[in-house]
């Protein structure tokens, strides 16, 4: 039996990788994949906790997170396509019409 803390550390590492990638990467698709990585870290934590508490509600939450991630990915890809169509680049540094 693998202890709960192992799963939590792995989930925290996955989440941190996602956050770091989100902040450092410059390609929109890569940034998007980093967000998915964050959500997968969340999913792992939920499943680990569900096993720890012997309750299914955590697993149910994971289902919803996955579906939400898929919907977000679909909308995200659509927006990425329309961004690419209007400016022919996927580098976030060049998507800079709106200034602070």
């Amino acid at each position: 039996m693998v202890p709960l803390s192992y799963y939590l550390v792995l989930s925290a590492v996955l989440f941190a990788c996602g956050v770091a990638g989100f902040l450092m990467k410059r390609n929109i698709i890569t940034i998007f994949m980093c967000i998915e990585l964050m959500l997968n870290g969340v999913n792992l934590a939920f499943v680990a906790f569900a096993a720890h508490w012997h309750r299914l509600s955590g697993q149910v939450f994971v289902f919803f997170v996955m579906v939400v991630a898929a919907a977000e990915a679909a909308v995200g890809l659509a927006i990425i396509i329309s961004v690419f169509r209007t400016r022919e680049t996927l580098n976030v540094d060049r998507v800079n019409l709106l200034k602070l």
Binding site: L8, S11, F15, G18, V19, F22, I28, I31, F32, I35, M38, L39, G41, V42, A45, F46, A48, F49, H52, W53, R55, S57, G58, V60, F61, F64, V65, V68, A71, E72, V75, G76, A78, I79, I80, S82, V83, T86, R87, V92, V95, N96, L97, L98, L100
Partner: protein, 517 residues
């Protein structure tokens, strides 16, 4: 084995959401059959849907169980968690109050949009379907008492809004705004979900009540329990992102500037109210035991929000961007109410936030309605220069805009004053004198940038000869928002009492106004 399934009450309590979903799907299907010149019927269908939903909310507000207990305050979708029966939906006065707010904001936004979308050549039925779906999401956020429902509601609202922001597909700014909003929104949802997973780990349940009990145990055992604190900080970060509080505000000016103007108005009131509903629900119900831990955080965030919002607004030349920064500063004031009140010993601040959100719906949507109507054939109309000389072209609109701006600044006879008044009152009641005086100073600063728009309208000559035409839908929207802004200012008792009722305060309106006179 499931012990019980949903009962008729569950469906009655979720009828507002069910109706809106049905109408949203209906608009999608009807839109496929409508010829291009009949697209306005989509707006009318959506408004009918909002009307039916309002009727369903009223039925809950006034309805009773068979044994005479009121429907308000009851839980729906009960389940058994570790021997404790808990509900997923809490239909209390708080939820009902926010339901009305969302329906109002959505209705006015739809009235504002029809003509605007025709000018932009993007008049599609999906727009209205997305607005209805986002209202369903908001309702889940306001009434959700379970992390699953709160998360689903948040995402339903957010994903619909991402599409609405990018609705002008051929416009570079709209695309860019949608992209930035989507990336930062998804990022904040990820952080929020991580916080939720830790809360689930601490309590073994997704129900806010069970979570509050577990946090209470953890807090009394060890006030510095690191997992509880990390869970609180990540959850709070996600929530503060959604209300656009500093330092998580960067998306707001970009998204507000690039979005179609009517959507900007909708985002600044309804989406923001929904985020506030969820923030209050989580901070005051679920995370309440950690209040001593999160208070210093909120003080920092609210002072930073007021400072950045007000100072950044000073130098803006784009109307939508200016109003975006002003809405950030308003979030700062509202956070002060949450700092002052805990909803148990002192409810004034929370009541102030609710009143604030109501008057903000009227005055900010009104201001955005005026900005929306500046969009004409070849004029984007979102710079301060575009509003210059409005008084000579459309005097009624200019006067209404001035009214909305004065209300946003919090000048006494108008509605905006009461929002600020209750927040400041709650700060004084709880001896937060420094914060109160800081907030008053910033409110004075706010007057300056609102009056920059005012002086442009009245003092400067018009930059273009193109007249400002106001469509019938826009006339209704302007009339409703103006009546709301002036009406709440002159006769505030009813609305203050409504906010008090939603928090379970008896006759609070009169006693507090007695203090005023």
């Amino acid at each position: 084995m499931p012990t019980s399934f949903f009962t008729g009450t569950d469906y009655a309590l979720s009828l507002p959401m069910i109706l809106l979903s049905l109408f949203g799907l209906g608009v999608l299907i009807i839109d496929l059959m409508l010829p291009a010149e009949w697209k306005r019927w989509n707006a009318i269908t959506a408004l009918i849907g909002l009307g039916f939903s309002t009727a369903a909310v009223m039925r809950i507000q006034l309805g009773h169980f068979a044994d005479g207990r009121p429907l308000v305050g009851s839980f729906a979708y009960l389940s058994n968690v570790g021997g404790q029966v808990v509900g997923s939906v809490l239909m209390d006065g708080f939820s009902i109050y926010f339901f009305y707010l969302f329906l109002l904001g959505a209705a006015i936004a739809i009235l504002m949009s029809a003509h605007y979308l025709e000018i932009e050549h993007e008049h599609h039925g999906e727009f209205y379907a997305l607005i209805l779906f986002s209202v369903v999401g908001m309702m889940c956020m306001a009434s959700g008492y379970d992390l699953v429902l709160l998360f689903i509601g948040l995402e339903l609202m957010a994903i619909s809004t991402y599409v609405l922001v990018g609705f002008l597909r051929r416009d570079k700014r709209s695309n860019e705004a949608a992209l930035k909003y989507l990336l930062l929104g998804a990022f904040s949802s990820g952080i929020f979900a991580y916080g939720l997973s830790l809360l689930y780990g601490l309590s073994g349940s997704t129900n806010l009540q069970v979570i509050a009990q577990a946090l209470q145990r953890h807090y009394s055992a060890n006030p510095k329990d690191p997992i509880a604190i990390v869970a609180m900080i990540t959850t709070a970060t996600g929530l503060l992102f959604k209300v656009a509080a500093v330092p998580f505000h960067q998306w707001a000016p970009d998204a507000y500037e690039g979005a179609p103007t009517s959507v900007t108005g909708y985002m600044s009131v309804a989406v923001k109210s929904a985020a506030w509903a969820m923030l209050l629900r989580i901070f005051l119900w679920g995370l309440y035991p950690l209040r001593p831990v999160y208070l210093p955080l909120l003080v920092f965030v609210s002072v930073a929000t007021m400072t950045v919002g007000n100072f950044a607004a000073l130098s803006q030349n784009n109307l939508k961007r200016l109003l975006a920064y002003s809405s950030i500063s308003h979030v700062g004031y509202m956070l002060l109410g949450l700092i002052a009140s805990d909803n148990i010993t002192n409810k004034t601040g929370i009541q102030g936030i609710l009143v604030y959100l109501l008057v903000y719906t009227f005055m900010n949507l009104g201001a955005f309605a005026v900005v929306t109507s500046l969009r004409r054939r070849d004029i984007i109309g979102d710079e301060i220069d575009d509003i210059a000389g409005l008084y000579s072209k459309a005097p009624t609109e200019a006067v209404l805009m001035l009214l909305f701006l004065l209300s946003l600044a919090g000048i006494p006879p108008l509605a905006g004053f009461y929002g600020k008044y209750f927040i400041f009152l709650s700060l004084i009641q709880t001896q937060h004198y420094v914060l109160a005086s800081l907030a008053v100073l910033y409110a004075v600063l706010g007057l300056y940038y609102y009056m920059r728009i005012g002086s442009a309208m009245f003092m400067r000559p018009a930059t273009d000869p193109e007249p400002v035409a106001i469509s019938p839908g826009m006339q209704v929207a302007l009339a409703v928002t103006a009546i709301g802004t002036v009406g709440i200012g002159i006769l505030p008792e009813f609305f203050i009492r409504a906010a008090g009722w939603s928090l379970g305060i008896q006759q609070a309106g009169t006693s507090l106004l007695g203090f005023l006179r």
